[in-house]
């Protein structure tokens, strides 16, 4: 899966399933502060990522993932 495909898949589920406004989806957007992703949303993102990318996010690996761009990087690294 290319980085473009990862970005497209993530953006699509953030907009369609987590219902984040499309205008807020930017590389530098902070997951918590800008996108409003809370701990319960994160539980659902773990489920969705497992369905789309076939691996389970480990919360401890997410400690340095603050922005959307870093989230794309994290997924890219995990599936390579």
């Amino acid at each position: 899966m290319t980085r473009e495909e990862i970005i497209s898949t993530v953006n699509n589920f953030l907009i369609e399933e987590i219902e984040i406004e499309e205008t807020k989806i930017k590389d530098e957007a902070l997951l918590k502060e800008d996108l409003g992703i809370d701990s319960l949303d994160f539980v659902d993102i773990v489920v969705i990522v497992e369905q789309h990318f076939g691996f389970k996010i480990k919360p401890e690996e997410m400690s340095n993932v603050k922005t959307l761009s870093q989230f794309y990087d994290y997924i890219q690294k995990k599936i390579q």
Binding site: L40, D44, V46, V47
Partner: protein, 405 residues
């Protein structure tokens, strides 16, 4: 003691998705019963059920609010939205006033079973998602509605089998009457999915008149062969009388009395004595006499035993005055946890529009129902006082009396 009135009502059921659709069905004796094909390969004796359309909540509620709602919670949201609108309660009022909630619910089976399925497959509890816990608990309806509507008063679910919705109204009455709350949302909700009723079907409680679904629910008829499960949700806004007057609310009826009892006997077999005690208590509580009751909305579910016990009880109390009786379950099927609340909504509609909805499919009486004045066709009648019965497994009984003001 304070007086308690109904200032709003909402309904979402197999005979209509709002008050006006349900009114039309009640006036014409329309059945909401059909076949759920999923039940046949799953191993049910009977695929008969009330057919309830699932509401589309996207656009009405945000994601966080939607994902905590199990099926019965979705129905309860629809019914409660209509009830608040009916009571002229808007979001500003909800934000700035203390309103309580007592809602009847006694299962959320699909949510529990779906969660179990995911954990069994994935062997990982984290993959069930964040909504599963809020859908799975018995208090799913009250925890979700209180969040969605920003309710700040008493907040709990009443689980009392098929009398849940009725007891919820009874408790709302007691809380307001004793000055603890000015306004309480009361109701009952019932899931209808095929996963939720298998164990009930397993004790041969359901009708197997599969060739004629709309004739399967036939309370008091000699050829009745079981109940038809059904569901949806019904909501009533109970309010302290002076509070309602001050607010300029339209008063739909007074909740005049609540009677309760427990049979203290068999887990599934009803009792005429227990039924009589609850009805007598509701009459004493409302300071009314047997002859004052204009119409009885019977619990009668179309089971051979249950209807016979209720018929005996009704004959003993009301036989001399020939009070008109019908079971709206003949049209709706048995709405179980919801029934005690929905049947107050149905009774309220009859009171408002001066008619009695028929006990459809009552063709031939049995030795117990032959003495009762069972209404088989819709009739025009002014109704000032109505008694509604609800009985449940474990011998829980509830009787409510509503009165026109």
């Amino acid at each position: 003691m304070k007086r308690v009135v109904i200032t709003g009502a909402g309904i979402y059921s197999c005979i209509g998705k709002n008050l006006s659709e349900v009114l039309e069905s009640l006036k014409t004796g329309k059945s909401g019963i059909g076949i759920d094909p999923l039940r046949i390969p799953y191993g049910y004796r009977s695929p008969l059920t009330g057919i309830v359309e699932h509401p589309q909540l996207k656009g009405l509620l945000d994601r966080r609010m939607r994902i905590g709602l199990a099926e019965e919670g979705e129905y309860a949201f629809m019914a409660t939205s209509e009830a608040f609108k009916n009571a002229k309660i808007d979001s500003d009022y909800l934000e700035n006033n203390e309103i309580g909630i007592f809602y009847g619910n006694d299962s959320s089976a699909k949510a529990v079973i779906d969660t179990h399925g995911i954990i069994t497959e994935k062997r990982d509890t984290q993959l069930v998602g964040s909504g599963a816990i809020f859908q799975s608990m018995n208090s799913t309806v009250t925890m979700n509605l209180s969040t969605i509507f920003k309710l700040k008063g008493v907040n709990m679910t009443i689980s009392a089998a098929c009398a849940s919705g009725s007891h919820a109204i009874g408790l709302g009455l007691l809380f307001i009457r004793n000055g603890l709350q000015n306004m309480v949302v009361c109701g009952g909700a019932q899931e209808t999915n095929y996963l939720s009723m298998g164990s009930f079907d397993g004790i041969s409680a359901f009708s197997t008149r599969i060739e004629e679904p709309t004739k399967a629910s036939r309370p008091f008829d000699i050829s009745r062969d079981g109940l038809v499960p059904s569901g949806g949700a019904a909501t009533l806004i109970l309010e302290e009388y002076e509070h309602a007057v001050k607010r300029g609310a339209t008063i739909l009826a007074e909740v005049a009395g609540y009677g309760f009892s427990s049979n203290g006997g068999n887990i599934s077999q009803p009792s005429d004595i227990g039924s009589i005690i609850s009805m007598q208590r509701s009459l004493e509580d409302s300071h009314l006499k047997i002859a004052d009751i204009d119409y009885i909305n019977a619990h009668a579910t179309s089971t051979p035993q249950g209807d016979a016990f209720e018929a005996k009880a009704l004959d003993q109390l009301f036989g001399n005055v020939h009070t008109p009786i019908s079971s709206t379950k003949s049209m709706t099927g048995h709405e179980c946890w919801m029934a005690g609340a929905s049947e107050i909504v149905y009774s309220l509609l009859m009171m408002q529009h001066n008619f009695i909805a028929p006990n459809i499919n009552f063709e031939t009486p049995d030795e117990f129902s032959k003495n009762l004045n069972i209404i088989t066709q819709p009739i025009e009648k002014k109704l000032n006082i109505i008694l509604s019965n609800s009985f449940g497994f474990g011998g829980t009984n509830s009787a409510l009396i509503i009165k026109k003001l």
